[in-house]
């Protein structure tokens, strides 16, 4: 297990942790980290936000409770976009994690710190959270395996919510076998999470992947080449591969941003400089003025953007045009996925349309351009479908990920596919200087 001096040194270089443990037990069976929007006793839970500075929760999130019970030692909280609002982990008040393959590039987001920790630390398992692709995207950019399970399979008790109808706790690791080892540990019914359902339970004997439908999408030449090569490799593994089209996918991204912003804006309403985190405002102000001043000062640029967008789409006169419409689109997309799953075990796309961009490239993107980066990772998240990003190639020296999506509750097929894939695909390790 990594020791504290090495962990501190690694974190100085890559900034994947917003907080690390004050001491590390060498007796623990395994080390793990948790995204900073999961509560853990002994750590702050700030979700990348300055407004939550000083918030020390008094209880463990359900997934952390289970990992600790299984013998795990929590070595730190990983950096993330504020409240999960972002695809590049640049929207954090606590530093920007650096991609281990090129420190001038992004780790992806919003679980960027988790993917970086998984890529850099030997034998490490990182708990991440996905709302619209926040596990798959950073897994792809950092060259690790990342799994988001079926919506409801893992309890969100102790999660600082972003979009309640899409939030899922999942796992990232260099080793595909870790996903199959730890997902059963964190899965299960939990009455403390109203969306927890876990039915049917995760199969103990994972079923084999037999057929894949490839959905072509817009991607860079380097990503396309890696996917084509993966397609051939899958065929050589006796997996039936066929190309299909999914017309409804073009509506997934706007539907996602309507629902996620609407839900996110209501969730952020509770952060006002009183109940959680910072409480150091001017108490001589009136209630509304105090809340407004604290939120205006301590919420970040992207959070404000999504709060304004989400509040607007929920306003009288716009609700049917945006929110209700997006709910209908989600149903239509789920139906189209289901019709494909009648013939295939999984749907395959690139995880991201491009390799990890450089920070200077991201700074030049408009808000909408950054949202468009999620075009491939949003559909399964919107639909609550289990999905996994697996490293499948390299372009310009940077990792490329492919994403497999399975039907609700068929998480086991993805876990077995990842284990089989790992035997075939020789993933590179980033060079890590300690």
């Amino acid at each position: 297990m990594i020791d504290l001096p090495d962990l501190s040194k690694i974190n100085e270089k890559y900034r994947m942790f917003s907080e690390i443990a004050s001491e590390i037990s060498t007796d623990a069976e395994f080390a793990f980290s948790a995204k900073d929007n999961l509560t853990a006793v002994g750590f702050q839970a700030r979700a990348g936000s300055a407004i939550l500075e000083g918030y020390r929760p008094l209880f463990d999130a359900a997934c952390i409770e289970k990992m600790r019970s299984a013998g795990g030692f929590l070595i730190g909280k990983t950096n993330m976009d504020e409240f999960g609002f972002g695809s590049f982990s640049m929207n954090s008040a606590y530093g920007i994690p650096r991609n281990p393959y090129d420190t001038e590039r992004s780790c992806g987001g919003s679980s960027g710190g988790a993917a970086c920790a998984a890529a850099v630390i030997d034998g490490h398992v990182a708990l991440g959270v996905s709302t619209g692709g926040s596990i798959a995207c950073p897994a792809s950019f950092c060259g690790v395996y990342g799994m988001a399970p079926t919506y409801g399979r893992v309890s969100r008790h102790g999660l600082i919510d972003y979009g309640n109808s899409m939030d899922k706790v999942g796992i990232l690791s260099q080793d595909a076998k870790d996903l199959g080892k730890y997902l059963p540990i964190i899965s299960g019914d939990d009455r403390r999470d109203p969306a927890s359902c876990n039915h049917p339970p995760l199969q103990k004997r994972f079923r084999k992947l037999r057929s894949v439908a490839i959905v072509k999408g817009e991607a860079s030449a380097g990503v396309d080449a890696a996917i084509r090569s993966a397609e051939e490799e899958l065929r050589s593994m006796s997996v039936d591969v066929e190309t299909v089209s999914m017309d409804s996918l073009r509506y997934a991204l706007p539907a996602y941003y309507v629902l996620a912003s609407a839900e996110g804006s209501t969730n952020i309403a509770r952060y006002c400089g009183l109940r959680y985190g910072r409480q150091d405002g001017d108490l001589s102000l009136k209630f509304d003025d105090y809340f407004t001043k604290m939120r205006s000062e301590y919420l970040g640029e992207e959070t404000k953007r999504r709060v304004i967008l989400g509040t607007f789409t929920r306003m009288m006169g716009f609700r049917d045009k945006y929110y209700a419409k997006a709910l209908g689109v989600r149903n239509a997309i789920i139906s189209e996925y289901k019709s494909i799953f009648e013939r295939f075990d999984a749907v395959l796309t690139p995880t991201m349309p491009f390799i990890s961009p450089r920070f200077d490239e991201i700074s030049g993107m408009s808000a909408l351009e950054t949202y468009r980066a999620d075009v491939l990772s949003v559909p399964p998240n919107l639909s609550g479908l289990p999905h996994i990003s697996m490293p499948c190639g390299y372009s310009e020296g940077m990792p490329v990920g492919m994403m497999l999506v399975a039907d609700h509750w068929n998480d086991d097929i993805l876990l077995s596919a990842a284990e089989e894939w790992q035997k075939r695909f020789d993933a590179r390790r980033s060079e890590v200087a300690i």
Partner: protein
């Protein structure tokens, strides 16, 4: 999307924006809402579900109880004689 609408929505959300922020968000939201227009031609379906999978309502029993001691909850709060300090009501 105009500046007045951005300011009004921000006020509802308890946000006070600078002049630069109003212009930034006006411009961004105009572009984003324009992109959302693709939804006008999207297929829809009956019976809107709030979640992507069916979940049963899980309500805890309506029994008062304290999971965490009050003193522990107050330890990190800004308090005066075990009351949480807050801004003025009037």
């Amino acid at each position: 999307m105009d500046r007045e609408t951005v300011t009004k929505v921000a006020r509802i959300a308890h946000l006070e924006l600078t002049e630069e922020e109003i212009e930034l968000y006006r411009s961004d939201l105009e572009e984003i809402l324009d992109y959302f227009r693709v939804l006008d031609g999207a297929p829809s379906s009956d019976g809107l579900l709030l979640n992507p999978v069916e979940v049963s309502d899980v309500l805890r029993p309506d029994e008062p109880h304290m999971e965490i001691p009050a003193d522990a909850l107050l330890a990190d709060m800004n308090t005066y004689e075990r009351y949480v300090r807050g801004p003025r009501v009037q």
